[in-house]
């Protein structure tokens, strides 16, 4: 099933930040996705030239839709088109969703710590949404490292989730520019540890972001005594490949 290409209608496209856009896709048939999975999107130019890229699913629109959120990459081949040019009413082709590792299942019973850097928050948001949709009572919280307030993807929805009952705890780390009163600076073990579920809670940990971010955070967690086998990682543009 996941090998075949399906045609999707673009039914909505909205900017999350100046460079990230959420695209809602609808299919003729039901589509389902587990939080954390990705899809391949294929674009075909008028002369038949095609390009394929993988994007994390941001959420589902049951029964026949799902959303992806695409960050425009400087010098990218596909992402500038998806963020700037694609419009409602267009069609694209999709393969997937796929992935059985970097995923959160509503049947999972352990506490969950999500740690995202930049657009690495996208697959984590799919887990958050799945957690909410399932009415899961498992503790789940998010630590989100961003350049500044204007780079926060899903800002409004995260604020609502923080204020809801039970709340989804969200901690922001601002690396370049912060709202008044918040510190600015790269994440470090000293700023990270007090803001996430402790090792004693033995949380399932999902980390997604740029390679340097993921490498550093995963190493700190292992050093701090988190169970190595319960830390799952994914990099930008990556689909969880073992390479």
């Amino acid at each position: 099933m996941s090998r075949t290409w399906r045609t999707a209608d673009v039914v909505e496209a909205r900017f999350e930040t100046a460079t990230a856009r959420t695209i809602a896709l609808q299919f003729p048939d039901p589509v389902s996705s587990i939080g954390g999975q990705h899809v391949d999107i294929r674009l075909t130019a008028p002369d038949g030239y095609t390009a394929v890229r993988s994007y994390s699913v941001a959420g589902t629109l049951p029964p026949t839709g799902l959303e992806i959120t695409v960050e425009e990459l400087e010098d990218g081949e596909v992402s500038p088109y998806l963020v700037r040019d694609l419009t409602v009413g267009d069609q694209v082709e999709m393969r997937g969703p796929v992935g059985g590792w970097f995923v959160w299942q509503p049947s999972d019973t352990s506490p969950v710590q999500l740690i995202g850097g930049g657009s690495g928050v996208v697959p984590l948001m799919a887990m958050v949404r799945s957690h909410r949709a399932a009415g899961s009572t498992v503790p789940m919280q998010l630590l989100y490292s961003v350049r500044g307030p204007s780079s926060v993807i899903y800002r409004g929805e995260l604020e609502k989730l923080e204020a809801s009952s039970p709340p989804l705890p969200v901690e922001y780390v601002y690396t370049r520019e912060a709202p008044a009163g918040d510190p600015v600076g790269r994440l470090s073990p000293a700023t990270l540890m007090p803001r996430i579920l402790p090792p004693a809670a033995d949380p399932a940990v999902f980390i997604c972001g740029a390679t340097g971010f993921v490498e550093a955070v995963a190493a700190w967690l292992v050093e701090a005594g988190y169970t190595e086998g319960r830390i799952k990682t994914e990099r930008y543009g990556g689909t969880g490949d073992g390479s």
């Binding site: 674009l43 796929v98 190493a219 990099r235 990556g238 969880g240 073992g242």
Partner: protein, 197 residues
């Protein structure tokens, strides 16, 4: 032909010879893995080959370094669609490891420090098709890229080139490894686009 995106032009580096279908070229070397990067001391490193009879052949880091070394340049192809041309490696051919090994099983399961596994048929790792490498581009292989040593099977998608490799065992059947039980193809030939189940 698929759905046309009239405003999409793309880069069109696809017609390059050597680029498998659905791939694009990158100059960088993306890092992808499933969990924390293990730190392995070469003083404790060991590579073990276990046969169906339970016989274990093992090599210490020094043993490994003293085996005949090959330097070679190959193209690599990741299932996430990037390909990188002309990567330069140094390591030991799997043929060398199998020289004194008595086995008739047609499949292998490689395992890594950190718990990763991947399955490979013998026909994909012998006859100069696969290596255990410890240098990339003239430098010791960095932990994030699988150092101190990784498997390299360049004619298959790169998830088959297990990082932090620690050994393999012979298998009678082609049982799936880690990614192969998590949605990825049992074989992984980029020219046949064997990406997913």
């Amino acid at each position: 032909m698929g759905i046309i995106s009239s405003g999409f032009r793309g880069r069109r580096n696809k017609d390059q010879p050597g680029l498998p279908p659905g791939q694009y070229l990158t100059e960088s070397f993306p890092v992808l893995s499933a969990g924390p990067t293990p730190r392995i001391d070469t003083a404790e490193w060991e590579f073990q080959l276990t046969t169906e009879a339970g016989q274990v052949h093992s090599w210490s880091w020094d043993d490994f370094q003293n085996l005949p070394q090959e330097e070679f340049t190959v193209d690599i192809h990741c299932v996430t669609s990037w390909s990188k041309f002309g990567t330069r490696w140094k390591g030991v051919s799997l043929d060398t490891f199998f020289q004194d090994v008595d086995t008739s099983h047609p499949y292998t399961m490689f395992s890594s420090y950190g718990g990763y596994t991947t399955n490979l048929p013998m026909e994909d790792i012998l006859n100069g098709k696969a290596w255990i490498v410890h240098q990339f581009d003239g430098e010791d292989l960095q932990p994030a890229h699988g150092g101190p040593a990784r498997l390299l099977v360049p004619h298959l998608y790169f998830w088959k080139s297990a990082k932090w490799v620690r050994g393999l065992r012979m298998m009678e059947r082609n049982d799936p490894g880690f990614w192969e039980t998590n949605g990825y193809n049992l074989h992984g030939d980029p020219w046949l686009e064997e990406r997913y189940w």
